[in-house]
């Protein structure tokens, strides 16, 4: 390249890096700074309190409970979503009965693929309203209405899905899984289609069953995509703010009685509602650390030998 070109390119490189530092890294540093103060969030007056906020955090049962819920989400959301998405993707791409020796999906798989993707088109806010109607706590709710008609639930004592400590987390997990499966199905489908057909054909000729084909061929060759899905879903499970805050009761959600609390809802409540902004910043720092740890652990745990084809 000529000299002028270098300068031109360097200019383009410098600006993004500078913007990144100013708008991404600096707020993080600022947040950490605030987390060492008793900032209340409505003015620039605060005092340095050292690690008081962090020691208070450890003793905060609500926040600790929230971490626990995030961990539950972290375990169940990726596992259920990925398993379902893999299963469906396999059925759509290689699950059909081999017609004329080829490898194909079940009948109508193209149609299914579109249908499965539908939930992904909806924003989380719409989803919250939609499932609010599904889980509605009286006979007007879709689930309750259905169960009452079937005679499984007493109309005078309907199930308060989002107001039951034992059900609320599962009700939320269902929404996220319903939302996510379609996207990961398409992701896995695309990956599956890049697997050479002859491998499947060879397996078929050798008399491999569908299960065997899936476990021995599809899954290993798909590992990269699964890993990506895992990390993405893991990060989503560490967040969950929109769904919890709009669907469950309480200021910024988390109800009933903190049974669906996640870290971000506790943080928002402390930040905006209780005016304990410095304390909330400490929560933010903890969230950042935990999310980083989770990402690293997930990448490490799923690392495997690459198979080239």
């Amino acid at each position: 390249m000529r000299k002028g070109q270098y300068r031109f390119v360097a200019g383009f490189l410098f600006v993004p890096v500078a913007l990144y530092l100013i708008f991404v890294i600096w707020p993080y540093i600022q947040t950490f700074g605030y987390s060492l103060t008793d900032w209340k969030g409505q003015s620039q007056t605060f005092e340095f309190v050292g690690i008081d906020n962090y020691t208070a955090l450890v003793r905060d049962d609500i926040f600790m409970g929230a971490i626990w819920h995030n961990i539950l989400f972290l375990v169940f959301i990726p596992v259920i979503t990925i398993l379902l998405a893999l299963f469906f993707a396999f059925m759509l791409n290689a699950g059909g009965r081999g017609r004329a020796g080829g490898v194909s999906g079940v009948a109508g798989s193209k149609f299914y693929k579109v249908v499965y993707f539908f939930p992904q088109v909806l924003s989380l806010a719409i989803l919250a309203v939609l499932f609010g109607a599904v889980y509605r706590s009286d006979g007007g709710g879709m689930l309750n209405g259905f169960l009452v008609k079937l005679g499984l639930v007493d109309a005078n004592d309907p199930i308060e899905w989002l107001n039951e400590p034992n059900l609320v987390l599962w009700a939320l997990i269902l929404v996220v899984v319903w939302h996510g499966v379609g996207f990961y199905l398409v992701l896995f489908s695309a990956a599956m289609q890049s697997i050479p057909r002859d491998i499947y054909e060879a397996a078929l000729i050798d008399g491999a069953s569908r299960t065997h084909t899936f476990l021995r061929i599809t899954l290993p060759l798909l590992w990269d995509s699964v890993q990506t899905a895992w990390v993405y879903l893991g990060i989503a499970a560490m967040d969950m703010f929109i769904l919890v805050s709009t669907m469950t009761s309480g200021e910024y959600g988390g109800g009933p009685d903190h049974h669906s609390e996640v870290m971000s809802t506790v943080m928002m409540r402390n930040f905006l509602y209780y005016g304990k902004s410095g304390y909330a910043c400490a929560m933010g720092v903890v969230m950042l650390l935990l999310t980083l740890i989770v990402s690293v652990v997930m990448l490490r745990a799923t690392r495997r030998e690459r198979i080239e084809f």
Binding site: M1, Q5, V9, F12, V15, P16, L19, F23, V24, P27, T31, Y34, K40, G41, Q42, S43, Q44, T45, Y135, R136, S137, D138, G139, G140, G141, N144, A155, N156, D157, P158, E160, W161, L162, N163, P165, A190, A191, S194, L222, D224, S225, T228, V231, Y232, S249, G250, G255, P256, D257, H258, R269, L272, Y273, Y274, G275, S295, L299, R303, R306, E308
Partner: protein, 493 residues
Amino acid sequence: MGSTTAENTGNDNGSEGVGGSAPGGVGRRDLIKRSAALGLITVPTMSFLSACASGGGGDDSSDDTQGKTSSSNPFGVKKGSKLDVVIFKGGYGDAYAKAWEADFDKQWGVTSSHTGTQEITGKLQPRFNAGNPPDIVDDSGAQKIKIDVLYKNDQLLDLAAVLDAPSIDDPDKKVRDTLIPGTLDPGLQEGKVVALNYIYTVWGLWYSGKLFKEKGWEEPKTWADFLAICKDAKSQNIGGLAHQGKYPYYINVAIMDLIAKKGGLDAMKAIDNLDPKAFVGSDAAQAGVEAIYEVVEKGYLMPGTNGLTHTESQTRWNQYKAAFITCGSWLENEQLKQTPDDFDMKFMPMPLLPDSVMPFEAIRAGSGEPFIIPAKANNLPAAQEFMRMMLSREWSTLFAKEANSLTIVKDGVDTGVQLRPGTQSTVEVSKAAGDDTFRYLYTEWYSEMDTAIQNASNELMAKRIQPKEWLKRAQAAVDKAAKDPASKKNRRD
């Protein structure tokens, strides 16, 4: 996927480097893509950042807004200055404020700018932090900035000057003396009025006059009568009591009112003053909670009401699915569209428990919709004058016309204004109550304690805890608030 390069393992969440650059340098497409992506990120971050970034600037430029004071212009509004008004655009809309501003601009030669929004916190927190808040704010709604929080940060102007200024309607009187007694209390922080709760509100039970006539029910005066109606309703497949379960604030109104009426003002003040025997050890508190729990235990709640939002629950009630609902006087305005024409909405005080100290007529009454003047407002004279005019009969009538509700100005509505049946019944009940009104303040003083009690009530209504446990949890919340060093200065006598 089939990426074949073995080194690419560390490709984390893929936000970066999707387009692997060719060895010859960064491709133009990549550059454009990345700068576009950065643009997308920076726009939302900017506003967030302005919330975080240290403000500093914005020293008061009061010199260009301070005019000469006179008896008709006690704050010295300066002609040609600007006034920045932010109004919560909720159940009352913001048309009333626009009418006010038009009048204000005409009278004083000031230019008002108007913002009607529901996102008070989102819009104003960055401005408070940066030191350039608006001049006058209607700080209400779900996203209001808590008054106690603002106050603790020295962001609120002491409104004493406005309240001690001469009234517009009668210059011989102070503004303070033209208001309904007690309506300033909720705006108190450490003895200073820092928020003006402008709308006169009463809380209690609501029912449909039509349904009651049909069923031959009479307005219950005692808790026993109330339960009898609930029982009769249940036998006819109607819920007894509905409440807005997703927001336990509403059922807390019922519980706390029973406590106050049973034990009198002392029982109420014990809670506000964080008494170590506010709940556990208080007979009134125990009786109040047990009374509510009886409704739950006997199955008189509208089925599913515990998980419904306020609108869902109120709409069900409008469909005659429940006999009673607890709410404040904004209910009628909020449900205008859902209420059948012949519904005949009626308001009543909480029925009495046996041996209550207060009479049946006593109601929780007070004021809502806090208007504040930020201490660092740019145009303090105009903001104060604006507030003084809000408390005139003319502007109060304007409000009643546009927002269909009463203000804290005594007899503040011209007689020509026709009120809806629900609002009319609140007027009558208030008259009957006379001086027998009460109002809790802990909700404004201690957000955390309020939330904790709300959670306990939610558990109680769902039958997951018993009254004893509720009392314990409520007392624990009180004790926790009492330990907070910041809470020592709030006290009422």
